[in-house]
């Protein structure tokens, strides 16, 4: 493997854009990333699209070839990858692998999504029987995605004494960070009282503690060392880049299954923890070396639980760290200086790519108003439906 560098990053703001086609969102993000890399469409040697079942392509989601065809049709390899909300991280990993293996000098990963409104329903075209747990969870008990996270949250309250106020505080921090981020959809401060007064979706989780669904797009252009030197500016290297799937015995209440093994020592949300540990190993770093993390905060529970799962804090310690301000931008471990999913709303396939963009901006010192001072090493972590995980570590 040879070293891989970030040449350019770009993102379209998150929000609702019913009049803007998904393809246009993708082109906007790609245009920004290429411009940031001082490159033209014609310089691109491979494109990986993060795809979902919601929209795009020939029914298989965002279609890399369609993006290329729209602006620079020249026969380059175009790949589409799935993996739920982790698809963006998986796409970055695919582009990374193409550079690292020497297959090409410049490759990009892009995610662009327009989400349906409300609860994410079941996709069409799958069998109506118990071999499909996404059928079973609906017909047998109507378990929505927030209910799964709520079960985790209630259990955390039982195990560690996490309070409703601390959970609300996690949401308050995410919204505070987003105020300075022009890409975020929700950029308004909120208070613990406002979070607790917002409607309960699946108790103990309130609507302000669960990410909304949004439209958005993000792109990352990666390249070889030679390409990075040609671009000039700070050299941002992809120090670790890993994808993983779930492990047997994982105690997580995994969407959309309705049961899990008890009594094993497997890590919780092992698909993400597995990717994070593989990324640590590739980068040759430990949790204490990481200056900031962008993690997929589908709920306030994730803001507390995941830093513990990733080895930053001891189990149960996050509550105290949060209350002491140690997860804030000027704290010991800044968590989601971007504002996270809670402030962006989830544009599934674009989310994992956006995380990498944010880390790159932070390492270059370009995260205006939300800059983590002296950030040299940043990590992303994202989970996707169906037990997919991805993690990227960038360094300067």
């Amino acid at each position: 493997m040879r070293p891989v560098y970030v040449l350019g990053v770009g993102a379209h703001p998150w929000g609702k854009f019913p009049n803007k086609p998904q393809l246009q969102l993708a082109l906007d993000a790609m245009g920004l990333a290429l411009k940031d890399a001082n490159l033209e469409w014609n310089d691109l040697q491979a494109l990986v699209a993060a795809s979902s079942r919601f929209e795009g392509g020939m029914g298989w989601g965002l279609h890399a070839n369609e993006i290329v065809q729209a602006v620079a049709e020249k026969g380059i390899p175009a790949t589409n990858v799935g993996g739920g909300c982790a698809a963006g991280g998986i796409a970055v990993h695919s582009a990374f692998s193409m550079i690292a293996s020497g297959q090409c000098e410049v490759a990009a990963a892009v995610g662009a999504e327009r989400m349906p409104k409300g609860f994410i329903p079941r996709p069409p075209g799958i069998p109506n029987d118990i071999t499909d747990s996404d059928y079973l969870r609906w017909v047998a008990m109507g378990a929505t995605n927030p209910a799964y996270w709520a079960l985790e949250t209630r259990r955390r309250m039982h195990d560690f004494g996490t309070t409703e106020e601390t959970l609300a505080q996690a949401s308050v921090l995410m919204h505070h960070n987003a105020v300075a981020n022009p890409l975020a959809r929700y950029r308004k401060e909120c208070t613990v009282a406002e979070v607790l007064a917002s409607p309960v979706v699946s108790d103990p989780l309130h609507i302000l503690e669960i990410c909304a669904v949004s439209d958005g797009a993000a792109a990352v252009v990666l390249g070889s060392e030679e390409q990075a030197r040609k671009r000039g500016g700070p050299m941002v290297q992809v120090a670790g880049c890993a994808i993983a799937t779930g492990q047997f015995g994982d105690p997580a209440v995994r969407i959309p299954t309705v049961s899990m093994a008890a009594g094993h020592s497997t890590p919780h949300t092992s698909e993400v923890v597995g990717a994070v540990h593989a990324a640590y190993a590739m980068a040759g770093v430990e949790p204490k070396d990481i200056d900031l993390v962008e993690l997929a905060d589908n709920t306030a529970w994730h803001v507390l639980a995941w830093p513990e799962f990733f080895g930053f804090f001891e189990p149960g310690q996050s509550d105290w760290m949060l209350r002491k301000g140690e997860m804030a931008i000027d704290g010991r471990l800044p968590v989601n200086p971007s504002g996270g999913f809670l402030s962006f709303g989830e544009a599934t396939t674009a989310q994992g790519v956006l995380q990498v963009c944010e880390i790159a901006w932070q390492l270059r010192g370009q995260a205006e108003g939300r800059q983590v001072q002296g950030a040299r090493l940043g990590m992303t972590a994202v989970l996707g439906l169906g037990a997919n995980g991805a993690s990227v570590i960038l360094k300067t």
Binding site: I130, R137, A140, F248, P251, S259
Partner: protein
């Protein structure tokens, strides 16, 4: 009440034989792992033989966690008279935790670790007027611990 025909929400999910509600799962004889619903194979990567057989899970367990859903789930889920309800995560003695609706309980009285047992209840009536049953868990009241498990809710 006239006796009414009833059907489960999905075939192969649970049984109400002899008035006792049990979940239909899979047990791996080779590594002693239980699965629900029925599994096509044992998923343990260290298990080589993967000798699986049908097994019945429950009826008793303990409440591991719970949540009360206050928004109506999207279509595919059906309920005759929708109102917010509780979903529980129940630890069964067979080394497995199972999600299911809770019934016969007030949310305020729920406690993690409390004893629960399986029951079957109508979710809705289908186009042919049949009761469509799902499995649920209900608290076991110590004073009534010896009561037959099919009392009450089973059609």
């Amino acid at each position: 009440m006239t006796s009414m025909q009833s059907v489960p929400v999905a075939q192969g999910l649970f049984t109400t034989q002899d008035g006792e509600v049990r979940l239909i799962g899979t047990h791996c004889r080779s590594c002693n792992t239980s699965y629900f619903p029925q599994a096509l194979s044992c998923r343990n990567p260290l298990c080589r033989d993967k000798h699986i057989e049908e097994t019945l899970l429950g009826p008793h367990g303990t409440l591991y966690s719970y949540t009360r859903q206050t928004y109506q789930p999207p279509a595919l889920f059906r309920m005759d008279h929708w109102e917010p309800y509780v979903i529980g995560l129940i630890e069964l003695p067979q080394g497995i935790r199972v999600m299911g609706m809770l019934t016969a309980c007030e949310p305020d009285t729920l406690r993690i670790g409390m004893a629960v047992e399986l029951t079957a209840q109508a979710l809705y009536h289908d186009e042919e007027g049949r009761e469509v049953l799902t499995y649920k868990f209900k608290p076991v009241h110590t004073s009534a611990a010896q009561a037959p498990t099919h009392s009450g809710a089973i059609a």
